[in-house]
């Protein structure tokens, strides 16, 4: 598929710099970026609670969450897990 993409000046500058850093084509860089976003989104859509379990058990760190999932989901796991654990302590101490 061929596509015309519209980039703002800043993104265009970054793309050109990245092209010289990595020494690869612009098309390849865009394909890689889309692929990474696609996999992050698929992981979050299909396996979010699996990542929550791994995080709650201390198997994966905050940094790894941000590498594997979209930012929004990684933040939700970090904030939600802390809130849920504090809540569980309250419930246990009240019962």
């Amino acid at each position: 598929m061929k596509a015309t993409i519209v980039l703002d000046k800043e993104t265009e500058k970054e793309l050109n710099e990245l092209k010289t850093f990595i020494n690869t084509s612009k098309s390849r860089l865009i394909r890689d970026a889309i692929r990474e976003l696609y996999f992050k989104e698929r992981r979050a859509r299909e396996n979010l609670l699996f990542f929550v379990n791994l995080y709650n058990e201390g198997i994966i760190t905050n940094d790894l969450l941000f590498l594997l999932l979209p930012r929004k989901d990684a933040e939700a796991i970090i904030i939600g897990s802390k809130t849920g654990k504090e809540a569980a302590e309250v419930v246990k101490s009240n019962s």
């Binding site: 979050a44 859509r45 979010l48 609670l49 929550v52 379990n53 709650n56 929004k72 989901d73 933040e75 939700a76 796991i77 904030i79 939600g80 897990s81 802390k82 809130t83 849920g84 654990k85 504090e86 809540a87 569980a88 302590e89 309250v90 419930v91 246990k92 009240n94």
Partner: protein, 163 residues
């Protein structure tokens, strides 16, 4: 009887899942401040609740929390919890959960936030519901809380409670 202070987000979620009737079958009296009452359109929800007005220092504390950007309902819930010396409120507002996480304010930090799963736990203990996970899924879908802090906080609470 123990007391719990509940925000409109949780009450509306329970109503949507047809679980609101169970509130008068658990060993807690459910209290809401005036601001939460104003957020509830469905009159049917109100008959299960005790409405409490904020005065004096409690109202002042609530206003100071509002100045930090906290919603009026959540601010009044926290101030009321502080007055009644309760360690927690029940709230499923995503924005408030995030604000509480990022704000370094002792009046907010000292009060823990429990979600609707607290009630699922109570309903299950009273044998009013059979499957907490099915109810969790249902509430999450009905309120469009998929992939949010609300889902993860409630899921974590139930997991930590051994479900």
């Amino acid at each position: 009887m123990s007391k719990v202070i509940v925000d409109s987000s949780t009450l509306i979620a329970l109503e949507r899942a047809n679980l609101i009737n169970f509130l008068n079958k658990i060993d807690y009296s459910t209290i809401i401040p005036i601001a939460v009452k104003e957020e509830i359109i469905n009159e049917r929800i109100l008959k299960f609740l005790i409405i409490q007005e904020l005065k004096g220092r409690t109202l002042k504390l609530s206003r100071s929390l509002e100045h930090l950007g906290i919603g009026k309902g959540e601010s009044q819930c926290c101030a009321l919890a502080n007055k009644l010396k309760l360690k927690f409120i029940i709230c499923d507002d995503r924005k408030f959960i995030r604000q509480r996480f990022f704000l370094y304010n002792k009046n907010i930090r000292n009060i823990k936030v429990l979600g609707f799963s607290f009630f699922l736990h109570m309903f299950y203990k009273k044998r009013l519901i059979k499957d907490v996970w099915q109810q969790l899924d249902n509430i999450i879908k009905l309120n469009h809380w998929e992939r949010s802090e609300v889902l993860i906080a409630n899921y974590t609470l139930l997991k930590e409670m051994g479900y």
